[in-house]
């Protein structure tokens, strides 16, 4: 029953997230967009940072997007559930351990963080073009 309930909880969270897909994309894309704008264009254009800086910040930007998306996908729903929305009660009263409920939420957080990383990568590719993006990923020189 634990496994069945676990997947039902994962399904539930993913369904809710899928319904707010554009809110999710917008939220996840905001951070890399601001970072690209500031560190990828403005500061290198002003000469404060070297032109190669966007390549160096690729890993950090994707990592940061994944981290923040993961936290947002896990901690924020839990905070809301335990404070003002008692929706989680139904899951906590299911015949499974509380750890299963927590693991389901963490699992969804992990999935969301990978999607977050993917969105950040797509944004970078769209902004800098595929060739430069490829150099960022592989670390190859011009």
């Amino acid at each position: 029953m634990e496994r069945q309930a676990f997947w039902a909880m994962v399904d539930r969270d993913l369904l809710i997230q899928a319904r707010d897909i554009w809110e999710f994309v917008f939220r996840v894309a905001m951070l890399p967009f601001i970072l690209i704008l500031t560190y990828g264009f403005m500061l290198p254009t002003l000469g404060v940072l070297p032109e190669s800086f966007p390549s160096q910040m690729f890993a950090g930007m994707v990592g940061m997007s994944m981290l923040i998306t993961g936290i947002h996908g896990t901690a924020v729903p839990f905070t809301m559930d335990f404070n003002n929305l008692p929706e989680i009660e139904d899951r906590l009263l299911a015949p499974v351990s509380s750890a299963t409920v927590a693991f389901a939420k963490m699992f969804v957080g992990i999935i969301e963080s990978f999607i977050g990383g993917l969105i950040a990568s797509i944004l970078l590719m769209g902004t800098f073009g595929f060739r430069r993006f490829h150099r960022m990923v592989t670390g190859a020189q011009k």
Partner: protein, 324 residues
């Protein structure tokens, strides 16, 4: 495994719950024991703050009791709360429906949390949506539901896994009388069909008086009375309650009333004096003369049959709608 009393689904023995906080502790439940007969509607009554919600939270495994035993159908709830949850349905007082889901999805996900296959969950959701009159709004998000519809859906959801016992925490609060009637009719039919016992907590005495076969009245975390409606009413020395609204009142009136012959007890609340008379037919002339002798007059008088509310007032000296 414990050998249960054959006809009881739930047994509670010396249940205690103490909340520890800075500067001391508060004992919300003080050693209560009772047994709920199988297949009945059981009333668990008391004023706000009497310990009803804490008790229900421990019975539904939301809270761990400080001490005591809870047996559900012969299995210990305190030792194995996870297994016990499979046999329990809970309808909370507040709206805890999943607002991001439709009514149908609420039912299906609930069933899946309880280990039902998608196919069975869908079949049962169809059945319950129809029974609770929600079929035409099944694909609407529950955030668009009215209070009455949300309450119906909460009950349908709690029944999805066919629990052995359904805990209802003030299920009809905020609903109009017509809707209450419909809701109770649906709940009772469903519980009869599935053999589910209903454990009803409320501070409103009318519903358990009509529906519950057995009941327990609690106050300050302790049981003050247990029994059937008629057994509880028999605790009040009269079957007729007289209430007198007086032009002015003094604290001493209660003592003076209790000195009257045939009056076993009296209470004074919001300018209304209620002497509990030791006989069926009150002598109204005598009562009027007595109030005049107190230097006051009767503005309004009410004579009614004893209700559970009167039982509670008689036992605790407070009204059901007052805080414990």
């Amino acid at each position: 495994m414990k050998t249960a009393i054959p006809d009881s689904i739930l047994e509670v023995k010396d249940l205690r719950k103490t909340y520890h906080k800075k500067g001391g502790s508060a004992e919300a439940v003080r050693g209560i024991s009772f047994a709920v007969p199988r297949g009945e509607v059981y009333g668990f009554l008391g004023p706000n703050g009497a310990g009803k919600s804490t008790t229900i939270s421990t019975l539904t495994t939301e809270l761990e009791p400080t001490s005591g035993e809870i047996w559900l159908d012969g299995r210990s709830v305190t030792e194995d709360p996870v297994s016990a949850r499979a046999e329990i349905g809970v309808v909370a007082q507040h709206n805890n429906l999943d607002r991001g889901l439709t009514a149908r999805e609420n039912l299906i996900f609930h069933a899946r949390y309880f280990g039902m296959s998608r196919r069975n969950a869908n079949r049962k959701a169809d059945e319950y949506l129809e029974k609770f009159g929600l079929a035409d709004r099944q694909n609407d998000y529950v955030r668009s539901y009215s209070g009455g519809m949300a309450q119906r859906l909460k009950i349908a959801r709690a029944m999805m896994h066919t629990p052995k016992i359904l805990f209802l925490d003030k299920p009809t609060t905020g609903l109009d009388p017509n809707y209450r009637e419909i809701l109770w009719c649906e709940m009772l039919t469903l519980s009869r069909e599935s053999g589910t016992t209903i454990f009803l907590t409320t501070h409103c005495m009318e519903e358990p008086e009509k529906l519950a076969q057995h009941m327990t009245i609690v106050n300050h975390g302790k049981i003050v009375a247990q029994g059937t409606s008629s057994e509880l009413k028999a605790l009040v020395p009269t079957s007729t309650i007289v209430t007198l609204r007086l032009a002015h009142t003094e604290e001493g009136f209660v003592q003076k009333a209790e000195e009257l012959p045939d009056v076993t007890r009296a209470r004074l609340q919001n300018g209304t004096l209620a002497p509990y008379l030791d006989r069926r037919q009150p002598d109204f002339d005598e009562l009027f003369r007595w109030t005049e002798s107190l230097g006051t007059s009767v503005l309004d008088m009410n004579v009614k049959e004893t209700t559970l509310d009167d039982v509670f007032v008689y036992l605790t000296g407070k009204g059901m709608n007052q805080d414990a």
